[in-house]
């Protein structure tokens, strides 16, 4: 049984050369211009002998969008470093996020024991589960009801715990993974768990719902050159090297604009970050949406993540549609 908790290792920050490249795409940096709150700030503070307690504000500020990981020239797992330090703090009762996550870590009460063998398992976010027509559209894009199982156990309690640094009981993790073993592929609607799932379920393809929908020519054909396609930043950064050409091809095939910066890193809305949900982090979702749309005049915004869609709707009066629904919307 593998531990759900990332291990905090000093080796993860020792290689930091202080280049600041991680800060360029960091939403916390974008909004605060405070180097202490960036991955580089954390790494260099630790190099200088600071402890996790000394950088608690910085650890609580991160949205875990993951843009720093592919940006880092030293290939440091900066998300893993932050999660490990959060876990370190939580173990000492000093976690800045544990109180927020406390209400989110109830495991599902009823879990059906569906046979997932050779099927696609969809780990759908609450908003998608609450929207039957969109859920049906997503299921259809993934191969139809006969081939898709919408999981009762979405693992979001595990995601919330990991994000806050709270230990996950091995039994609970095993229960969650048991429902996924043998699946043809696992499709997620929010990318935070993707890198963990790849480690926990070696050999099982882990894909985002957005990428899975875009695999269909019908979906790609429905994208217009006047669309802004808003990527799920966490899913994209968790599998960056594989996904860069996928989305680059999409851009050239369809002419649509993508929510990428000049480094081809995804600009996050930060709407799905734990600290954003509770309004405790320094990143304002409204500012992120404003930055994503600055200088752009899309006719509609196509989203992979429903929380991103809601964030855009709150800030701008413009059509927003989920990628699973764009064929119908054409």
């Amino acid at each position: 049984m593998r531990s759900a908790l990332p291990r905090f290792s000093p080796a993860t920050f020792a290689a930091c050369s202080g280049c600041d490249i991680c800060a360029l795409a960091c939403p916390v940096w974008q909004q605060t211009h405070d180097v202490r709150l960036t991955p580089k700030g954390r790494a260099t503070a630790l190099q200088g002998g600071a402890s996790a307690e000394d950088i608690v504000e910085s650890l609580g500020a991160c949205t875990l969008c993951g843009s720093c990981v592919p940006a880092c020239p030293e290939r440091i797992d900066l998300v893993g470093m932050t999660l490990g330090l959060r876990a370190d703090l939580a173990a000492k009762g000093r976690s800045p996020l544990a109180p927020l996550a406390a209400g989110m870590i109830e495991p599902p009460r009823e879990v059906s024991k569906a046979n997932v063998r050779l099927k696609t398992v969809l780990l759908a976010e609450e908003r998608l589960l609450a929207d039957p027509s969109l859920l049906a559209a997503a299921t259809l894009r993934l191969g139809g009801p006969a081939h898709v199982i919408v999981a009762d156990d979405t693992g979001f309690d595990i995601a919330a715990a990991l994000e806050a640094g709270i230990p996950v009981a091995p039994e609970r993790l095993e229960e969650f993974l048991a429902g996924l073993r043998g699946a043809l592929r696992v499709v997620t609607t929010e990318g935070f768990l993707n890198s963990f799932l790849r480690k926990w379920l070696p050999g099982t393809p882990i894909r985002s719902l957005g990428e899975s929908c875009l695999a269909l020519a019908e979906t790609r054909r429905a994208l217009r050159p006047t669309d802004l396609y808003l990527l799920d930043a966490r899913a994209y950064h968790a599998d960056f090297e594989r996904l860069v050409p996928v989305y680059d091809t999409l851009r050239h095939e369809t002419g649509c604009d993508l929510s990428l910066d000049l480094q081809h890193l995804a600009i996050t809305t930060a709407a799905n970050a734990l600290n954003s949900r509770f309004g405790t982090g320094p990143v304002r979702v409204a500012e992120q949406v404003k930055w994503i749309l600055e200088g752009r005049r899309p006719s509609r915004v196509v989203v992979e993540n429903m929380e991103d869609g809601e964030a855009v709707r709150r800030e701008r009066n413009m059509p927003v549609v989920h990628v699973a629904a764009i064929s119908a919307a054409k």
Binding site: A15, S17, G18, C19, D20, I21, A23, L24, H33, D34, V35, R36, K40, G41, T44, A45, L46, Q47, G48, G49, A50, D54, I55, S58, P73, E74, V244, P245, D248, H252, D261, L262, Q263, H264, E294, G295, R296
Partner: protein, 540 residues
């Protein structure tokens, strides 16, 4: 008979001689003075010697200084975690620590800091991207002023093709904003975490400097906080003396808080490479290319002195076609295929150099894909050259410590200086890169005095960076410093300037520029900064 140090103090400027007895003690020079060399310059060639960090400011007036700042609403951070972020720079060889850190937020706040610093005589060290290599942005006590707290684009004026930015902004962040409007900066260092303010203070060299000059030459106006805390707007037409002192002034004459920069419409560039197995031939061709003014970008990147790459690029297809019709036939450079054939023949005849051949092949296999990533290069056109180059530089040259000594020369001294420098770097390191570019000089020379622009250059200046690749081995700080010194000794002999003459290399300032010029600048510095508190130990 033992030498009695208590009775003997050498007069200032006297030569220290070691006659077998204990070394005589020299009184420490007062702050803000470049002490005379204690041996004649000629005697130092070839002698390994180590520069040391400047002495740390003792902090006697720190407490009342901080109290005054806090009373004025300035947030001074003294915690260990914050100070730890600033202990070194990109060079990673100079280590210091500030007594405290202020994140710059406005010109008025910076002015408050500098006024108090003058009164309490507290050193203030500014820092942007921290990409200095000689400890210039490292505080050896006193206050660290982190300029990246001022990182906004104030406005963009498409009609006049100007952008006003806060000076702590990274060039890349500026480009992110400009690109949303189809615009771009004109010229910036090929390192996307250089700050605008830091670049203006030293020059800033892009691969298009052959066409546009230094990044600092794209600045038309600045808001500067003087060392005594006055906020002054200066430009090419107003307060011009301050303007020319601050540009390429190595942070001695004021803190840049905002800058108005020339911008241009964005265009991807079409990049080409030709190859040489002879460094001299590559440099001769670079001069031909530069003089022809037919390319928009040009430079030399080497893998070793048998594998040299002359790169050139164009913003328009018309210029590209004209170049290939008129200039390319005059160049000695080989195509990649021709070069590979020559290299294969050479290494077949020199089988004992198989290790070198394998290294070149591996280097090419790992490095070249970085320059051809499909998301950045499509149809032969490269988007965002700075992203492409910067990623490659940090991934393949970056390290916890970097030394990049350089020589800045006139055209007539370029080839000889680089060839001599190449002999030095080859002696120290098995693997290294030379990076050479030309810089078009602007008519206004005032700002060039005592800077990286050599006094004898006309038309264009040329620069060469000598960058060892450390990943091939570990080197002591002493070795690295000796290497830098030996490169700079070439500069002294050849009468060149340097880009990185400050910080731990400041011992070369008098030798490079001469006493008269240095003393004139020292007098200007004393007049502008009576307590000598702004960026101490960088130049003075």
């Amino acid at each position: 008979m033992p030498y009695d140090t208590s009775k003997s103090v050498l007069p200032r400027g006297a030569t220290a001689r070691h006659d077998g007895g204990p070394a005589p003690e020299m009184p420490p020079p007062p702050r803000g003075v470049i002490p005379p060399e204690t041996v004649s310059p000629e005697a130092m060639f070839g002698i390994p010697r180590v520069q040391t960090n400047p002495s740390r400011w003792s902090g006697e007036t720190w407490k009342p200084f901080v109290e005054e700042l806090r009373d004025g609403g300035v947030d001074v951070r003294e915690d260990r975690a914050t100070k730890a972020m600033f202990v070194t720079d990109a060079g990673g060889l100079s280590f210091g620590a500030p007594h405290g850190v202020v994140i710059a937020r406005s010109a008025l706040q910076v002015a408050t800091v500098l006024r108090a610093a003058q009164r309490f005589r507290v050193p203030v060290t500014t820092r942007g991207g921290g990409l200095t290599t000689e400890g210039e942005s490292v505080a050896f006590g006193g206050l660290q002023l982190d300029m990246t707290g001022m990182s906004k684009v104030r406005w963009v004026d498409r009609d006049r093709m100007l952008a006003r930015v806060e000076a702590g902004i990274f060039w890349h962040s500026m480009a992110e904003v400009l690109r949303r409007q189809g615009l771009d900066y004109i010229s910036a260092p090929l390192n996307f975490t250089s700050s605008v303010g830091g670049t203006l203070a030293v020059g800033g060299i892009d691969v298009n400097a052959c066409k546009w000059g230094a990044s600092a030459d794209q600045c038309v106006a600045m808001e500067v906080v003087t060392p005594t805390g006055q906020v002054v707007e200066c430009s090419e037409t107003a307060n011009t003396e301050l303007f020319d002192r601050v540009l390429l002034g190595y942070g001695q004459f004021g803190v840049v808080t905002e800058a108005t920069m020339r911008i241009r419409p964005y265009t991807p560039c079409r990049m080409h490479h030709i190859f040489y197995d002879d460094l001299k031939a590559a440099m001769e061709d670079l001069i031909v290319v530069v003089r022809s003014e037919s390319t928009d970008y040009s430079g030399i990147l080497t893998m070793n002195d048998r594998a040299n790459n002359l790169l050139f690029a164009f913003d328009s297809e018309d210029r590209e076609k004209a170049f290939f019709a008129n200039v390319r036939p005059k160049l000695k450079g080989l195509t990649e295929g021709q070069f590979a054939m020559r290299a294969a023949r050479y290494y077949a005849l020199h089988p004992w150099k198989i290790g070198e051949a394998l290294w070149l092949w591996r280097r090419k296999r790992t490095l070249m894909p970085e320059f051809e990533r499909p998301e950045h290069v499509r149809g032969g056109k490269m988007d965002d050259r700075t992203v492409v180059f910067s990623r490659a530089v940090w991934r393949h040259w970056g390290n916890r410590s970097m030394v990049i000594p350089d020589l800045a020369t006139s055209e007539s001294k370029f080839i000889e200086s680089v060839l001599r420098g190449n002999k030095v770097i080859r002696k120290y390191f098995p693997h290294y890169t030379l990076y050479c570019v030309a810089i078009r000089l602007q008519p206004n020379r005032e700002r060039y005095e005592m800077s990286c622009i050599p006094g004898d250059a006309t038309g264009w200046a040329y620069g060469c960076e000598f960058e060892p690749i450390f990943r091939a081995g570990e080197y002591s700080r002493d070795t690295l410093q000796s290497f830098k010194n030996e490169i700079y000794d070439v500069g002294v002999k050849m009468g060149t300037s340097y880009y990185r003459f400050g910080g731990s290399m400041k011992g070369y300032i008098r030798r490079a520029f001469g006493d008269a010029m240095v003393d004139r600048h020292l007098a200007m510095k004393r007049a502008a900064d009576p307590a000598m508190i702004l960026n101490p130990d960088v130049v003075f």
